[in-house]
């Protein structure tokens, strides 16, 4: 009887003893615990540091360019002849190409994406939504080079059969295809924003005799506007930075124009053209791609700042 009691006691004690024994190990553990935040910080810093490094490279190389070509020439000249005997480096032809293709893409993706989002969030049954949304997001997984070929070998011939004046490479076709490419982005993100509008708000509108459409347009969209604007801006950034489609389908004419039927080069396509040949390191042409890249970076950066501001201004808290 007594032995049993003792054994229970020792069992009890041994838990304590075991814990005490572990204390020495715990001090090592403490050191490790203290190191964890520092290690994790390093991992978090990787992407920030990379961004800083990229920005640093862009700026230092672009400085070389601006030592040879003036700021005013770069930003105001409509002539871009990097490889001519008497070269000129005006950004405007590339800027017009980029802006035009982005505008065309948004004219396609904005309305279609928003309508799709309204359908998915307000009209589709759960089953249809669960089926359609992944399919829509599949569109976003298609490699851009496939879209590029789609633009060049399918959309352009189709456009030419309707509108024969269109050149073999033109800005309209890649713009349209880029629009198709970013529809899922607009639709999916806008749908997320609209879906997170609480149902009580819809009930409030239905309770006043509003139809589904009135509820969607006058209650749900205003309530979700910050998310919708964010999706548009992300889509615009994506369109500005898109490279492959325009490289393949819009040609390389450095043309300052707003005629969508013409061949035009975008900023991204110019970087591809120069960096994949022709230009020797250290030449002005070589440095010019850093200046263009820096401009591209600044544009998307400003876009994101603007988007945050707009979203905050229009935000309807709920």
């Amino acid at each position: 009887m007594t032995t049993k009691n003792v054994s229970v006691n020792t069992a009890n004690l041994s838990t304590k003893q075991l814990m005490n024994e572990k204390k020495s190990a715990a001090s090592i553990k403490n050191v490790f615990e203290k190191m964890v935040p520092a290690v994790l910080f390093l991992f978090a810093a990787v992407s920030v540091l990379t961004t800083i490094a990229i920005l640093y490279t862009l700026i230092t190389e672009a400085i070389h360019f601006f030592q040879r070509v003036s700021f005013t020439e770069f930003f105001t000249s409509t002539n871009l002849k990097p490889l001519s005997q008497n070269p000129s480096f005006g950004l405007l032809p590339l800027l017009s190409g980029t802006l035009l293709s982005t505008i065309i893409a948004m004219v396609v993706a904005g309305p279609i994406g928003l309508m799709a989002a309204i359908y998915l969030s307000e009209y589709a049954s759960d089953r249809v939504r669960k089926l359609l949304k992944p399919m829509l997001e599949l569109l976003a997984g298609i490699p851009t080079i496939v879209y590029g070929f789609f633009a060049f070998t399918f959309v352009t011939p189709l456009l030419r059969s309707i509108w024969p004046e269109i050149e073999l490479t033109n800005i309209l076709s890649p713009g349209l295809v880029m629009g198709i490419m970013i529809i899922p982005m607009v639709a999916s993100l806008s749908e997320d924003a609209m879906n997170s509008v609480p149902n009580t708000m819809r009930e409030g509108a239905y309770g006043l005799g509003a139809t589904k459409l009135e509820t969607a347009i006058k209650v749900v969209i205003p309530a979700a506007i910050s998310g919708i604007v964010a999706s548009f801006v992300l889509a615009i950034s994506r369109a500005i930075g898109e490279t492959m489609i325009v490289t393949i389908a819009s040609g390389s004419t450095k043309n300052f124009s707003f005629d969508v039927t013409e061949s035009m080069q975008t900023m991204t396509a110019y970087i591809v053209e120069v960096s994949s040949g022709d230009a020797a390191a250290g030449t002005t042409v070589y440095y010019s791609i850093y200046a263009v890249a820096l401009t591209l970076f600044t544009m998307t950066f400003l876009m994101n700042l603007l988007a945050k501001k707009i979203a905050r201004r229009f935000r309807e808290e709920y």
Partner: protein, 276 residues
């Protein structure tokens, strides 16, 4: 029992007035005939036959899950928004069956407004919240809208608190103010009936008193159906009460009679707090 009478002694004085009015039999605004409702396989309402009189307050009480919220949501067909709902039977409103396919849910909801359990103002200004209803029904003129907004807010006892900040977001208001704003939003389209689904359950006692006073003042013009799980509230403000249990109407009658001399033992048990 003595405690019970004590508890309701104060409202009983007010009740005398309404009793006199009730002597003239009121016409019924809603009449349900063997109304049944299912959520999928589960039956939530069983053979409901109720006549809801106009221009008075009808309270619906009962324990959670008894179908009281479901019932008032069928009165403006909000229940249809839930997938897999099936209804059988008739609800007559002003002589037509609102459950028939030809009856437009939007037209019905314009006539039968609703105030919800949690205040649900739109994320817009106070003015735009009240003007929303008139606007979707085609009223665009600013001067008319201004009048509607002012009148609705006054009728909802909230005008003095918000008249200087009509352009501010409704979410800056307190919970009680938001609920009165939601009532004002409902009044702005001049409904015949106002359905209220536990309108004070999310409010503090002082806001609750204000909303109750408001509800009483509204019954001169509107027919009100209110769901509540607060029996004192039903006793304080309503003219007649229906007691729901497991999807059935156990008892329906004048409020003071139902609370003092319930005919059914289950009603007795419920109002005495033996279950619920």
């Amino acid at each position: 029992m003595a405690v019970q009478t004590q508890l309701y002694a104060v409202p009983a004085i007010e009740k005398k007035e309404s009793k006199n009015k009730n002597e003239v039999e009121k016409e019924s605004i809603f009449e349900t005939k063997s109304l049944n409702l299912w959520y999928g396989e589960t039956q939530a309402l069983k053979n409901i036959d109720l006549k809801i009189p106009e221009k008075s307050i009808t309270a619906i009480i009962g324990p959670s899950g008894c179908g009281k919220s479901t019932f008032i949501k069928t009165l403006n067909r909000m229940v249809e928004l839930i997938p897999s709902v099936q209804t059988k039977g008739d609800i007559h409103y002003k002589g037509s069956n609102i459950l028939s396919k030809d009856y437009s849910a939007e037209a019905l909801r314009t006539d039968v407004g609703m105030v919800f359990q949690k205040p649900n103002p739109f994320p817009k200004s106070i003015y735009d919240n009240v003007a929303y209803g008139p606007r979707i029904h085609g009223i665009k003129k600013k001067s008319i809208l201004d009048d509607i907004v002012e009148k609705s807010l006054k009728d909802a006892f909230i005008w003095d608190e918000v008249k200087d900040r009509l352009k501010e977001n409704a979410f800056g208001l307190s919970g009680g103010q938001q609920q009165r704003l939601c009532i004002a939003r409902c009044l702005a389209i001049e409904p015949e009936v106002i359905l209220m689904d536990e309108p004070t359950s999310a409010l503090d006692p002082i806001s609750t008193t204000k909303v109750e006073e408001l509800i009483q003042s509204l019954k001169k013009q509107y027919s009100i159906v209110i769901v509540t799980h607060n029996m004192q509230q039903a006793a304080r403000i309503s003219d007649q009460t229906a007691f729901f249990l497991n999807g059935e109407v156990v008892e329906f009658g004048k409020t003071d009679e139902l609370f003092t001399e319930p005919k059914d033992s289950r009603t007795m048990d419920y109002i005495n707090g033996r279950f619920g």
